[in-house]
Amino acid sequence: MKWQVAVNGRSIEIDSEQLASVTQVEPGVYSVLLDGASYEIRLSETSSGLSAEVGGRRFEVEVRDPRDTSRGTRTQLGSGRQNIAAPMPGKVVRVLVNVGDAVDVGQGLVVVEAMKMQNEMKASRPGRVIEVRALAGQTVGAGDTLVVLE
């Protein structure tokens, strides 16, 4: 049987007859011997699927079951809107934009304080602010949406 696995968007076909040795050595940690080379691969489930880590590199992985024909390729997140989310729990120190503002790449949006550091959340592409959910003084959790851009 042939399986399709997407690794950082690259599609890899795995033949179940392929010769290799895969052993789970610790929970979520796999030792793979392939063509003589030894790899140690750490897998963890994330909100968006499966994440792998090898030698400090991270890979996003998706396994497609060949018998499950109902499941197509995962659709990309809508490219029209962008949610700016808190990358870590912390406290909102300042909100730097208002609804309706046009923002440029690199422009500061919200300042969040965590671990004794003030961190400015920046726009990664140009757009317009359509929603501001962050409030100065508010405590936010990792992944909470602070600002929505369009």
Partner: protein, 500 residues
Amino acid sequence: MFARVLVANRGEIAVRIVRALREMKIRSIAVFSDADRGALHVRLADEAEHIGPSPSGESYLRVDRILEAAKKHRAEAIHPGYGFLSENAGFAAACAEAGIVFIGPSPDSIRRLGSKTAARMLAKQAGAPVVPGSEEPATDIERARALARQIGYPVLLKAAAGGGGKGMRRVDVEGELEAAIRDASSEAERAFQNGEVYIEKVIEKPRHIEIQIAGDHYGNLVHLGERECSLQRRHQKIIEECPSPFVAKRPEMRAAMGEAALKIARAAAYDNLGTVEFLADDQANFYFLEVNTRLQVEHPVTELVTGFDLVQLQLRIAAGQALPFTQKDIAWRGWAMECRVSAEDPENQFFPSPGKIRQLREPSGPGVRLDSGVYPGWTVPLDYDPLLAKLVAWGAERNTAVQRLQRALSEYVISGIQTNIAFFREILDDPEFLAGSLSTEFVPDFLARRKPLAEPAPQLDTAVAMAALAHFQNARERAASAGKADAGRWLTEGRGQLLR
């Protein structure tokens, strides 16, 4: 020697001190906030006392609570570590009033070296070189203009009470001076409740080189050589080494810097451990920067090269013992280098990354020392600084130390949160870094020229896919628990199935 010592700190440094106490057969007393009930320093200490809620202002900075804990646990002395109350003269004085030994210099020495302008003046009077600049706060704009012209642009504005880059401004031309003083002063006011700023000459691409000093209660003072800490991001050191690759080629520079540091220490009647920081330019000129009147984060690199245990030395000095060596007994052997491993995400503007550590594999083996404050399952709190551990390597030469550090980083796994481990591997592979061409501009320059990692080899993709498929099958089998999946023979778990 003391029988009972309280450690007024948390994280890796509290663990470091608890270890020294255990080695000296002194009973260790940890203190902890709400967030730190299950912290490693609490687990390893002999005794522990809760001192308040998670915010440090309500726990680790509470002089009253810490002294109360010390009295309750009959501590004879308090080790403050670094940060928190370690450079607080009021705390040192309060300890003395309570009849408890503060492990560090006297409140008077702390006071005399605590303000940057006061320390600068003391250094100048003692005959140590200082960065050309103003002795008094730059309040009068006319006098500031005259001084800046005399020093020569570019100049730097710095907060008198400050640190960490707050209230700091570079001024390239006279026209910007007035506005810059205004901005810097108000920033300093906000940060330190003290708006005084002073003017200094800008040393272009300086190296940060510091001298470790040690003194006892009997006037004996020695220096233990230098550390180079030029690798900084946002004024936070990230890699430190001993010796400095610059000073290693100039033995006379170590002697001169050591002598300058000891002049300052003598002038401040200093005892216990301290660090005198200097900036050095590429002509080997060096200028006094400030004194840290406490144990330095990066003390392990000096320990590995000199062979002394600096925390044990602090305890002996505080207990009234004389220095067990003189300047001529101090020898430097080989090279040590340290990486500050932090919970932050280098791929996302170094955002802090608190949270639960899912997996932890710590490196060890030849030449590797790890001073860590975490364990698998520990939730790194968001209330404190993101330092998790200090990874230090020693080698006979700088190159060996770097290779061992690289090897140790390759074994080091912290999952569940983001860390700067992989970022260190990039820096340690950089030709300029390997050549020892360092300056405080190194990290910003490196970040600007940093290239994305090369695409992985196709075989690595295949290996990842195979592991993921095995994981997927395992999960499905666990879930379904009935009906074995036909994943092919290589997926069989266990032993001996390698057949190629």
